[in-house]
């Protein structure tokens, strides 16, 4: 043939028989993944091992020396320091208050907004807006609204004759305020996930049930809710784990107070590690948090496996 192929010219020189196609592919794959892998080892794998070691030591601020103290830090947390259980209690109250409220509201909003009527986009945009806003900004504004006597909320309540509490200065009210404002901030995310799941349900299901005379509630109870099962599970676990991570919101709104009334685990770790420089104790707390999250994750995987 008259034409010489460009590809044939190079072929003879670069056969490289010592490198099989398979090896070449594996090599390239490792190259592709190496930045992620290196980052994982340096900023996650290594630190995870280090935190185990730290949790077994006592850190001397003056000499900058670590001494091995065995399980002392864990003993401190679990048996000696009453703060720990107070913090765990706060974290649990926070989660137990936040997760159901968030999920129920998300589901109701999703049901209302999964259709296609005028204004649906506006409402979705509104309910989702706090999600893209920084938690710090959100907390600043709500802290402002919830000021004592002069705060906006209390001024409004005064108009209808209610003497509102000093929200962020009373432990129980502070916890409630943090939970509710956090729900308002994050509910849009779960709403979106529920809407996506609702829209994935074939319309025929509802139509068929309606032909058989099912009411709206029956359709929801017996068709929609079961079909939302996997989504509900995912949302539940993501939201629960998320509730254990909350830091910026609380830092800005209550600073863990009043009287440690909103001191949750993530905040406690920060406080012990970076304000009181008790590295060993903070690391033990971090390990405990790690275990809690792992248990939740495995629980989720187990549930999902059972489902499928």
């Amino acid at each position: 043939m008259a034409d010489t192929l460009p590809m044939r010219d190079t072929a003879r020189r670069e056969d490289a028989p010592w490198l099989t196609l398979k090896m070449r592919e594996a090599m390239e794959a490792w190259l592709f993944i190496s930045p992620t892998l290196a980052g994982f080892l340096i900023f996650f794998g290594g630190p995870l091992i280090a935190v185990v070691w730290y949790s077994l030591t006592e850190w001397n601020l003056l000499t900058q020396q670590a001494t091995f103290v065995g399980l002392d830090n864990y003993n401190d947390a679990l048996f000696r320091n009453p703060d720990f259980w107070h913090v765990v209690r706060n974290s649990v109250i926070f989660a137990v208050g936040l997760v159901p409220l968030n999920m129920a509201l998300a589901l109701v909003l999703a049901l209302a907004l999964s259709g296609r009527f005028a204004g649906v986009v506006v409402f979705r945009t509104v309910f989702f807006a706090p999600v893209v806003t920084s938690a710090v900004a959100w907390a600043i504004v709500w802290k402002f609204l919830l000021q004592g006597e002069a705060g906006f909320i209390n001024q409004i309540l005064a108009l209808v004759g209610i003497d509102g509490p000093n929200w962020l200065r009373e432990p129980n009210w502070a916890m409630a305020a943090v939970i509710v404002t956090r729900v308002i901030k994050m509910v849009g995310l779960n709403m979106i996930l529920y809407i996506a799941a609702l829209q994935a349900i074939p319309r025929d299901y509802g139509a068929a049930a309606r032909l058989e005379g099912a009411s709206g509630w029956q359709i929801f109870r017996w068709i929609v809710w079961p079909l939302l099962g996997p989504t509900t599970l995912v949302i539940m676990v993501i939201t629960t784990i998320g509730s254990f991570k909350v830091f910026d919101h609380i830092y800005q709104m209550t600073g863990g107070g009043p009287e440690n009334g909103t001191l949750v685990l993530a905040f406690y770790i920060y406080q012990q590690g970076f304000q009181f420089f008790d590295v060993g104790y903070a690391s033990a707390l971090a390990m405990i948090m790690f275990v809690i999250v792992m248990v939740l994750t495995i629980f989720q995987l187990a549930l999902r496996r059972r489902d499928t």
Binding site: A129, V132, S134, I241, D248, G273
Partner: protein, 284 residues
């Protein structure tokens, strides 16, 4: 049934009820933003006066004082450039790794995927203490490096990796095969075929990563101490008098400056942004 209550009318009444209910429900979602902006224009005296959405006296000076109180422009810029770098890096790193996990066969792929999944779930708080010592050892405390490196390679970056992987898996394989037959290297297939076809996933990763970096708080709080290295969230929490009492009018003016541009972009691109979050959540 009376003639008045036709099916059509019931439907309309039903819709009106829902719309009213939704409007009421929307108040706590919208009002804080309005109040934030309005209060940002009020004087320190008026701010706790009798509530009014429209300031009696527009105090534009707040928005100048914000920049005098601390190097707010510099802090604003810090947030912006860090978010841009984190986004670019995350796109690069996560799409490379995601591609390898989706398309390439190599021993250990399953193990790596499993390792990454664990990191996906673990909160930053768990590893933040050793990471602090690591950064201090590397001399990177009070620089912006930790704010770039930790999010890029942390849970957020890994989430991006899985999102990209998921998307690559759904792409038609024959197109990439055609690229290989045409002489593209792996890198070439990734860059010239897989990436151009993955715009929605790349956009989702970019949006979520940018917002996440923009709103990052724990890392700046721990790693940055000089005022001119602050990022926005940290700067916002810093509008206080020397005794730690918030200077509300300044703080709210600054918060407005930080939040409103994001909201404007969000409103313009709300569909794209909301879809991005849905995409990232569905795979979870």
């Amino acid at each position: 049934m009376t003639a008045f209550l036709t099916r059509r009318r019931i439907r309309i009444i039903n819709q009106v009820c829902w719309t009213v209910a939704l409007c009421v429900a929307a108040i706590p979602f919208v009002f804080p933003f309005l109040w934030m902006v309005s209060s940002g224009f009020k004087s320190a005296a008026e701010i706790f006066g009798s509530p009014s959405l429209v300031p009696r006296e527009w105090q534009w000076r707040n928005f100048i004082d914000v920049f005098n109180h601390q190097p707010f422009a510099r802090q604003y810029f810090n947030s912006l450039y860090i978010a841009v770098i984190v986004t670019a890096l995350t796109l690069l790193v996560s799409s490379l790794a995601g591609y390898a996990l989706a398309r390439m066969r190599f021993a250990g792929a399953a193990l790596i995927a499993l390792l990454l999944v664990t990191a996906l779930m673990i909160p930053e708080e768990v590893t933040i203490i050793p990471n602090f010592f690591l950064m201090r050892w590397a001399g990177l405390v009070d620089t912006h490096w930790p704010l770039i490196l930790l999010p890029t390679f942390g849970p957020q970056g890994i989430m991006a990796t899985f999102l990209m992987r998921q998307y690559f898996l759904a792409l038609p394989r024959e197109l990439e095969d055609a690229g290989k037959m045409d002489g593209l290297s792996r890198l070439g297939v990734w860059w010239r075929i897989a990436l151009p076809m993955s715009r929605p996933a790349l956009a989702a990763v970019a949006i979520i990563t940018f917002l996440n970096s923009w709103n990052l708080f724990l890392e700046p709080l721990i790693f940055v101490s000089s005022l001119d290295k602050f990022t926005l969230p940290l700067a916002l929490s810093n509008f206080t008098d020397p005794y730690g009492t918030p200077l509300w009018h300044l703080q709210l003016a600054a918060t407005s400056l930080a939040v409103v541009p994001i909201l404007v972009v969000y409103i313009i691109a709300q569909r794209q942004i909301i879809e991005s979050f849905a995409l990232s959540g569905v795979k979870g």
